[in-house]
Symmetry: C2
Subunit: 338 residues, 2 copies
């Protein structure tokens, strides 16, 4: 972060025609973006959204309210413009890219979808590791490459999204590993499990944590063993953004687990992350506390795809516009406080 840009931005905020602090978190956002972008004129105009998709072997345990075929079906829906993130990207004028890392059902070639096929989904992590080392490394690299494409395209802000039936189970298991917490603290209804369904999901996660328990102390191993393709790709993308100095707007439960994994792999990465919203998925609260960043919105969202992050983009844009365009007391000849 650019400390001099931060100080200049803070000094400018005090001169703008409003009581000091009256724009609350919008002031903090503008100052944070100025420090991340190393500029006096922060911006969030060019937003690059990448949705990573992948299937999960653990879906065989019956831990989702939706059938596994939906992952591939939603990849097609992203491509055709009918999904929430497709609509949000259009509204924002944001670039939307989809990276399919491996689904059970082959979608065939689709416009706007990059294929990086690591297999027909991960292995069932109740039986063995979700990914072999090569798969996990390639998934991380797929995320890194997506972040680099965003950077090359001149993005001001990077958003990663995800799609993968079963991925709240994988994300909860990974969060348990990172936080040394039991499954019941992190598992929730996901796309809409009943209380019995959540109880079963907890049992499944606990079995996986037990199976892999000797290997969960290292974040890369935790990611490989109980994560997923798209979670690893998000992690790689976030790490790359932090290294390149590209601000990240983090979405909900699964994205925040990836952000926490990135922070564990490279402490300090979190400085580049803005949490867009508090998810309705109950376990999200612990992740937010672990990262120590207050989310911007709290609208009961729990869709994923990067949709919650997309919804927060206008806040960044208006924060930047206010910071850059408001008149100072001197310019407007407005009297200052007593």
């Amino acid at each position: 972060l650019d400390e001099s840009a931060r100080q200049n931005a803070l000094a400018r905020q005090v001169r703008l025609t409003k009581p000091p602090g009256a724009l609350g978190r919008l002031e903090e956002l503008a100052v944070h973006l100025a420090a991340m972008q190393g500029t006096e004129q922060p911006r969030a105009d060019r937003v690059h959204i990448v949705v990573f998709a992948g299937d999960h072997g653990v879906a065989a345990e019956g831990i989702s309210a939706f059938p596994q075929v939906v992952t591939a079906e939603m990849v097609k829906n992203f491509a055709r413009g009918g999904a929430a993130i497709s609509v949000a990207a259009r509204v924002l004028g944001a670039r939307l890219e989809v990276v399919n890392l491996g689904t059970v059902v082959d979608t065939g070639a689709l416009d706007g979808v990059t294929r990086c096929d690591l297999g027909p989904g991960t292995a069932n992590f109740v039986i063995g590791p979700a990914m072999d080392e090569h798969q996990c490394v390639r998934a991380l690299a797929a995320g890194r490459h997506a972040a680099e494409r965003a950077r090359l395209a001149g993005a001001d802000v990077f958003i990663g999204g995800e799609m993968g039936i079963g991925n709240t189970t994988a994300a909860a298991a990974l969060a348990c590993a990172l936080l040394s917490a039991p499954a019941e603290a992190l598992a929730g209804p996901g796309t809409g499990l009943s209380p019995d369904g959540v109880a079963h999901k907890i049992t499944v996660i606990d079995r996986a944590l037990s199976l892999h328990r000797d290997h969960l102390g290292r974040p890369f191993e935790a990611l490989r063993r109980v994560g997923g393709f798209e979670i690893a790709a998000l992690t790689g993308g976030y790490l790359s953004c932090a290294q390149m100095g590209l601000p990240v707007l983090v979405d909900g439960f699964i994205s925040t687990v990836a952000a926490l994994t990135a922070e564990r792999l490279r402490p300090g990465a979190v400085d580049w992350f803005i949490l867009s919203h508090a998810s309705a998925e109950p376990g999200h609260r612990q992740l937010v506390q672990a990262l120590g960043i207050p989310p911007l919105l709290d609208l009961g969202l729990r869709l994923g795809e990067g949709s919650g992050a997309a919804v927060a983009v206008p806040l960044l844009r208006i924060a930047c516009a206010l910071h850059n365009q408001m008149a100072t007391f001197a310019e407007a000849e407005v009297s200052e406080r007593h």
Copy 2:
């Protein structure tokens, strides 16, 4: 509200390609707007913002961190495009109108500012009523006319803003009258009073409540005696919107007091109000509870001018776009839940 439009909107939400309820309050917003606008395709494209300005006699009691001349100076700043609401209106492509109801310092004629001169500010309500009946009626009418102009211009959403040094004192006094609460429950730092300043403000409000105590049971009399020009205009504007069926996005502390006044004058008006944000002004919480509407944002805003409502506009827009443009399960050939 159009119950049939609401039911159609609810039915559509269930068919969209997402787990039911996964878009949380954005779904509720779209459905509420559909019911208010009586349509299957709610929208928040055309936003009409009117900022009402007026001075307050009670400023003589030293209850603001800023000198009274700032009201007129800020009216000029609105007109020149340098204020927060000016910038926000530009970002949103919203129409911005300023209505000067009477300031201590004459601003002269200004482009984009309508004059409706009710006098050089209200009278000091510690000594007598803030307004005579004629002034209060004219201020209500000024708000009504502004709402009617918005309607004629085809507005989808109405935002009222306010500017007036001393107006958190007037708003808190009015809120005390409406809620039968003591000053200490509603008075706060406003634009930035010290704790001693807040204590003095509480004393001033308590003196006014004591002076007018036999007349505060009727909302019109409470508004007239301890309100202000811009608060009455906001109240009239909100009432008119509710009568015409134009959705209102309510701003912060002062606007919410006006919304509560409107609801007391015409119970049911509240159906047409959306609370944009939870203000940092501590008394706002009680007003939110009294209206029974959860705010959309909580960003520590406390500027007024309609700025917080403007910041919430993109949420309405994205809620409408998702509602109107997302594919259904059938259209996208996506499988539904088990």
